[in-house]
């Protein structure tokens, strides 16, 4: 696949989603990057910001199957992955696997933190292995497969915060911010008027093949070893305990309990490659790294009690690390 074609498709996808979603340009772009990088996205924001609409619009423009799971405390794992049901056909009774909603290309896990850890962990295997196991039998998920989970930062009573292991499986964590006054005016215009915007399909129905080619091209994007070293140094600098914290900066030692896992570095590199391709380049630059480093690392570093008491965010820590790690 030619890089130009990738850029063309990418731009069209962005444009179509923007017909429905007002603002959130970075979020749209990064969701698309995560999709082509084969990762999952955790969207965090207060209710009513268009998170669910974004995911629905994305699945629509991609022309792939879409399922929504509303996570509640009484949701069972079988409600997600599916279960064996007894069926009778031609006089014989047998168990037949009934697929759950996880068997779709785009899965929206709405308010994922409201389900119990048992149910959340059911999604874990699906996200990482892209397969589910029911009664000892594994079932492959659709390809491409992406989980777009949302969670609400307020109304935390009765919620089950996602464990670190599950958070680490999300490629990006994107913060959905409230719209600006201009954007809100545009939202009102589009949703309360006679004409409402509607996103069109960009990819054909058999777009899975094209998506696969695009995902393959993304991994071929050139990256210079010094830029890889830069990413490694940044990830290493988030470790407060490794090597007695020699590589860590002082805010890291002060406020972090755990640093980023190697998945963080992988996410940065792949995200940077996706960003480069989206910009029409076939090589990664430092700018690409800078653009994806926050969504890739913010959920992978774990704050300690002092940071929470002082209301220090992970973005502030990442910013400090980026400031202190030299590029060359």
């Amino acid at each position: 696949m030619e890089p130009e074609k990738f850029q063309l498709v990418f731009k069209r996808l962005e444009a179509e989603v923007r017909k429905v979603i007002v603002g959130h340009d970075d979020v749209i772009r990064q969701v698309l990057i995560a999709f082509f990088a084969g990762g999952h996205v955790l969207l965090e924001g207060v209710p009513g910001l268009g998170k669910t609409l974004l995911v629905k619009s994305l699945s629509h423009v991609l022309g792939v199957s879409f399922k929504r799971i509303q996570f509640t405390p009484d949701l069972m794992p079988s409600d997600i992955v599916g279960t064996e049901v007894l069926t009778e056909a031609s006089g014989r009774r047998e168990f037949q696997f009934k697929k759950g909603p996880i068997f779709a290309h785009v899965v929206l896990a709405d308010e994922i933190n409201r389900a119990t850890p048992k149910t959340q962990s059911a999604v874990l295997e699906a996200m990482e292995e892209k397969q589910v196991t029911v009664f000892g039998e594994s079932h492959a998920l659709a390809s491409p497969f992406i989980v777009l989970a949302t969670q609400n930062p307020i109304e935390l009573e009765g919620t089950y915060p996602l464990p670190e292991a599950q958070l680490d499986r999300f490629f990006f964590k994107l913060m959905v911010a409230p719209p600006s006054p201009v954007e809100l005016r545009e939202i009102l215009k589009r949703t309360t008027g006679a004409e409402t915007g509607d996103a069109g399909k960009v990819l054909p129905d058999d777009g899975g093949k094209l998506i696969g080619q695009m995902q393959q091209l993304l991994r071929q994007v050139l990256i210079a070893p010094p830029i890889e070293d830069y990413v490694v140094r940044i990830v290493y600098a988030t470790q407060p305990n490794l090597m007695n914290g020699n590589g860590a900066t002082s805010p890291v030692k002060q406020y972090l309990r755990f640093g980023s896992s190697p998945r963080g570095a992988q996410a940065v590199i792949l995200g940077a490659k996706g960003n480069a391709l989206a910009d029409g380049r076939i090589h990664v630059s430092y700018e690409d790294v800078a653009k994806v480093i926050y969504p890739a690392l913010r959920h992978r570093i774990i704050l300690n009690f002092q940071a929470e008491a002082e209301n220090v965010s992970t973005d502030e820590i990442v910013a400090e690390v980026v400031k202190q790690v030299p590029r060359a």
């Binding site: 210079a224 010094p226 430092y286």
Partner: protein
């Protein structure tokens, strides 16, 4: 310009990056050389000065020079290793100048074999299109860094300080190497038949000088004698190497002579310190300096008093010189007598008054003439009570008298206070009497009538 850019654009982007890295490396090399060159030159100057003054042996000089050169080169290498720009750094510089968004960095650092060839070739073409934006000579010209100016300045200061402190170093250095140098030069000269006699003289001198019983004054005489011979031979010699050897010998002898003068001065200072530490002995006459020669004491004192009153130098007569045990006086006399045995007493006396023959003073060395004062007025302790010296009349006691104004005017021979004097300077309103009181004589009869001290001078 078009031709040059055309030529440059044919090269690959990686090659351009490599060329820039080499250029930056050369610039750092020049920086390092310029920074370390001034101190190296100063150190070389130091070594040459030490060698010329015969303070270090030739082997030491060569070793020192080699070591300094080695240290300088090591410093340059260490600095370059630390500052040398790598290929990625050079590539980033090119990227910044051409706004290439790390294209050059990627091309210069990736392993081409590990990546799809089509993408690499495409990236290379993209970078090549940007090459025209950069001209290495224009974008990366060489400029002398500020560190060079600092290095130059500090080196200059160090060289100046060293140059000024050479005499001080000379006065405090050890004596032993000078003998070695003298022996070495003598050994070299012995290999040349015309200089063999002089070499023998030098060897003999070196042996004699190491005799601890030999007085410093005698040492100086011997050194000076041989030095004259060396200089005479040097004037006659036409061969270059022989002249150089004689020059070395001359330097060594001058150094020895300077040391000897310094040793003599130190001995004299020690003697003065001993006398000062016993002030009670000064009151008895001339203290230690005249001990053991009671017959000449009175004559000596009388002669000194006469000279001192005339404002002349305190020098002894030839007859007194034979009896004089004062080391200071002996030193002064012999310094001015290069060959005392060949000259008459009259000549000696003439020289003692400061009329030194031409050239003799020069041969004695510059620092020696500075260290041993000639023609200075005698010290205060040589004056008798009642004699007038630099600091007034010795042993006198003064009183200050305040007189009425008209009386004060009469005392000065003036009619009135308002009358202008012959000299235009203003007199103080409070006249001061400088009339000395009579020396205190314990046996003298008491005065009949006690006068107030204030009126003693007036009534008399």
């Amino acid at each position: 310009m078009r031709t040059s850019t055309g030529t440059q654009s044919r090269e690959l982007p990686e090659q351009r990056v490599g060329r820039l890295a080499a250029r930056l490396r050369n610039q750092k090399l020049w920086d390092s050389l310029l920074i370390f060159l001034p101190p190296l030159l100063v150190a070389t100057y130091l070594a040459i000065v030490l060698y010329n003054f015969a303070w270090i042996a030739p082997l030491t000089f060569y070793l020192l020079s080699g070591a300094m050169l080695g240290v300088g080169l090591l410093a340059v290498v260490v600095r370059i290793r630390r500052l040398i720009p790598s290929v990625p750094v050079a590539a980033r510089l090119v990227d910044e100048k051409t706004s290439a968004k790390d294209r050059f960095l990627t091309l210069a650092t990736i392993d081409v074999a590990l990546w799809p060839g089509a993408l690499v070739e495409r990236l290379r073409n993209e970078a090549a299109a940007l090459l025209e934006r950069i001209d290495l000579r224009r974008e990366f010209p060489y400029r002398v860094k500020r560190s060079f100016y600092w290095s130059f300045l500090f080196s200059l200061i160090a060289a100046t300080l060293f140059h000024l402190s050479v005499p001080l170093i000379g006065s405090t250095r050890n004596q032993a190497p000078a003998y070695d140098t003298l022996n070495e030069v003598a050994a070299k000269m012995a290999k040349r038949p015309p200089l063999s006699a002089l070499a023998h003289e030098l060897s003999t001198l070196a042996m004699k000088l190491q005799d601890p019983k030999l007085a410093e004054q005698e040492k100086q005489t011997l050194i000076h004698k041989v030095l004259e011979q060396v200089e005479t031979q040097q004037r006659k010699e036409h061969e270059k190497e022989s002249r150089a050897l004689l020059g070395e010998a001359s330097s060594a002898l001058q150094g020895l002579e300077q040391q000897s003068a310094q040793g003599q001065k130190e001995d004299t200072e020690k003697g003065d310190g001993g006398a000062q530490s016993k002030p009670s002995q000064q009151g008895q006459g001339e203290g230690k300096q005249s001990q053991g020669d009671g017959d000449s004491k009175g004559e000596l004192n009388a002669e000194r008093s006469k000279d001192m009153q005339q404002g002349q130098k305190a020098q002894n007569t030839p007859q007194e010189q034979g009896k004089e045990k004062n080391q200071q006086s002996q030193g002064d006399r012999k310094d001015n007598q290069p060959a005392p045995s060949n000259k008459s007493d009259q000549d000696t006396g003439k020289e003692l008054t400061g009329k030194t023959p031409d050239g003799a003073q020069e041969r004695l060395g510059r620092s020696r003439s500075e260290e041993i004062p000639q023609g200075a007025p005698p010290a205060e302790r040589f004056y008798k009570p009642g004699e007038e010296g630099k600091e007034g009349v010795k042993g006198a006691r003064y009183v200050t008298v305040q007189l009425p104004e008209e009386l004060a005017a009469d005392t000065k021979g003036e009619g009135s206070v308002s009358k202008p004097s012959k000299e235009t300077r203003a007199f103080p309103k409070t006249p001061v009497s400088n009339a000395p009181l009579p020396a205190h004589v314990p046996e003298a009869p008491m005065e009949k009538q006690q006068l107030p001290l204030e009126y003693r001078g007036i009534i008399r």
